[in-house]
Amino acid sequence: MRTTRTRRLLLAASATATALVLAACNANPTTSSTSSAPAAAAQQGGELHILTSQTAINWDPATSQNLAITTLGLVERRLTTWDAQAGQPSKVVPDLATDTGTPSDDGKTWTYHLKPGLKFEDGTPITAKDVKYSVERSFAPELSGGLSYHKSLLVGGDSYTGPYQGKELDSIATPDDSTIVFHLKSAFGDWPWIVSMPAFGAVPQAKDSVSGYTTKPVATGPYKVAETQQGASVTLVRNDQWDRSTDAVRTAGPDSIVFELGQDQTVSAKRLIADSGADKNAFGANFVPPAQLAQVARDPSAKDRLVTSGAGALAYLAINTQAPGLTDVKVRQALQYAVDKQAFLVASGGATGGELASTLITPGIAGRQDFNLYQAAPSGDVAKARQLLSEAGWKSRQLRLLVDSDATNPAQGQAIQQGLARVGLKVTIVSQPDDVWSQTVTQGDGSKYDLVLSSWQPDFPSANGNIQPLFDSSQIGGGGYNISRYSQPEVDQLIAQATVETDTSKAAAIWAQADKRIMQDAPVVPLIYTKNSFLHGSHVQNFVIPAFPAYPNYLKVTLGQ
């Protein structure tokens, strides 16, 4: 899971999730979506508009990090997908496959059967070979950037370089046209979630193109791409080869869907607040910015059309554990007390923006233990921080706080700066556009920053997604997201141990242990569990945010009149 923040928008996943009693707390008893029952019950017709700040949609399943329930899910089906409804824990459910997978060989082998009668948009049948090919192409170096959990799990995945040199990945077997078998290196209990990721769809080899598939995918879902105006819009129309009876999740309400690209977040939010003309049939794919949240709070009609998720992604301040001075754990612990979390929360929109955080595993994830190793008031403990800094013998040096200018509102960086200034730490805010930002933090030697503001959402509802990508030492540099450059053999071992543990409650206990162990070393300051708010027009119905992920479920949105 790798994410430019804009992609994180569509992608993310937070964790108010699987199971859990906690999720039930947020539970909204009115289940507004049409249960998992007959999709035909949903209102049909109309043209839905989706306003997004993205300037392009990447339809290539090998390079996309899209969530199962957002954009790509409308066009491309996967082996499994998510049944994500308001107030209920999200479930992984069969999509192209007849079930969520049959494990054998102690969880190392997973077998799937395709539903009969599935077709691509051109009428050719979907076979297991197309699924296998889709997974194989995600290994190709020229198609990097997608979710890569499966790459280290499949046997031979480490050395496989994609199908373009004529090689196949032998750990994926297709004994017949409707059966596909995956052989894993070790048992992996969350495998049904892994096969809900974009690469586990179907791509016909004859229509594949490394550069062209991003704009011209071959649809398997209820919609196909009809028209792409570069940088302006993408129009989807119905795919008549999609058979409603094979699909329990997608209601396919609107006749067509138009993505309006490159929309400024503030402007989209204002359009949706105004709710005039075609915007009545629109919703925003981006978070509503704090200024517009304040505006909505004073506008009763817009308030009804604002949907806020439960506590989701973790927003955190990463401390570069390899930077001069910050190698000292005392200094990092001083930062835990120095940061003004309350100011950060207010800068993120106050109560609608999130809840104060102290753990790395986000609320709602199985086995999460609530603890706070650095007890302090929400605005920090200045005296304690000063004391720790003087014990560490900190010599004043300017710290560079790197922020992603596309994702972070400027007030957030200043809230951190202000908090640290109280203990005499001078901070320079270095603001970089999204692509430069991710280059700086995930590539190279990390010498260009001391602190980074970031936020993280697991790609599937498991503590694994909270911890492994951010704190495993294998994820330092080279595109990995261990941006605190944190390396602790003890933690690596706990991660390895929890990953192979098939007993979920035992695994959860190990993850909780890892959470605490990491926080002792203080490589990050957990700031808030963010809540995401979205606006929709007055004709848009069944617009719900499930417990996991904290994003609207595009697959069930319909239009009323």
Binding site: T266, P290, A291, A294, V346, A347, A351, S379, N409
Partner: protein, 319 residues
Amino acid sequence: MTLDHADELVAAPSSPGAARPARRETWWRVLRRDRFAFTGLLVVVGYVVVALTAPLFLGWLGVDPYTYHLDALDENGAPAGWGGGISAEHWFGVEPLTGRDLFAIVVMGSRASLAVGLGATAVAVLVGATLGVLAGYAGGWVDVLVSRIVDVLLGFPALVFMIALGAIIPLRFPHSPRILILVLVIGLFGWTSIARVVRAQSLTLRSLGFVRASRGLGAGSGHIVLRHVLPNLAATVVVFATISVPGAIGSEAALSFLGVGVQPPTPSWGRSIGDAVTWFSSDPMYLVFPGLALFGITLAFNAFGDGLRDALDPRAVRR
């Protein structure tokens, strides 16, 4: 020297010496009569005094532009209360999402605006006047070179380039002083028009009788430039400088608005205005106060500059 020019006046139009005090009195009186310009001057002086004494003044009032007042915000991070949180404590209300005192921000913001406005103008005048005189007086290849540089710079998309520089320099040199960068970037793109005017005037002056006379009497180039050319350019340069200050202040605001100018938490009107745009519908006063401050200083400088030009214009004096 040929005799063709013997009928020219040998005295300079305003030679240093006896004529000067009278002239100064005259332009001052003209300026005093021009109420608009005079008000402009008073406002400019007021801004400068406020900017110079800002930390003392704010300290005396007990506010500062850096302290967060989260209690002055409602649960959404918007200022609580009327007019963006206007109260006895916070005269202009508070900044949304941070609760910093907006009055203090506006007052301290004048420092960045004036420092950059005056600094960049000083750089522009220094470079422009020097090169202009050099080109106009020396002529020849120097003139050709300077004039071509001016042509190139005038045809250059300066704002785009300034944005690029404003974005790149801090990345390469994270600890460089932003105000100085802004002064240099804006100043070094703003000298061309001054250089052109000064060059043209120097060309004229060079061939005037009193200059030629002193050269005929054996004066060196340095003496002529310092004693005869520059004093006669002073009025033009002063007027030009005054008129270009609001332009430089505007450039600073524009760059800060676009996020490549003065960096937080140093207050800047341009950045406040940039932040306030998204808040306009829920908290208009956040945009109004920094906007008015910027409007006030640019209007005052323009009014003063216009009046000064009228006052120093020889035709206007004779009126």
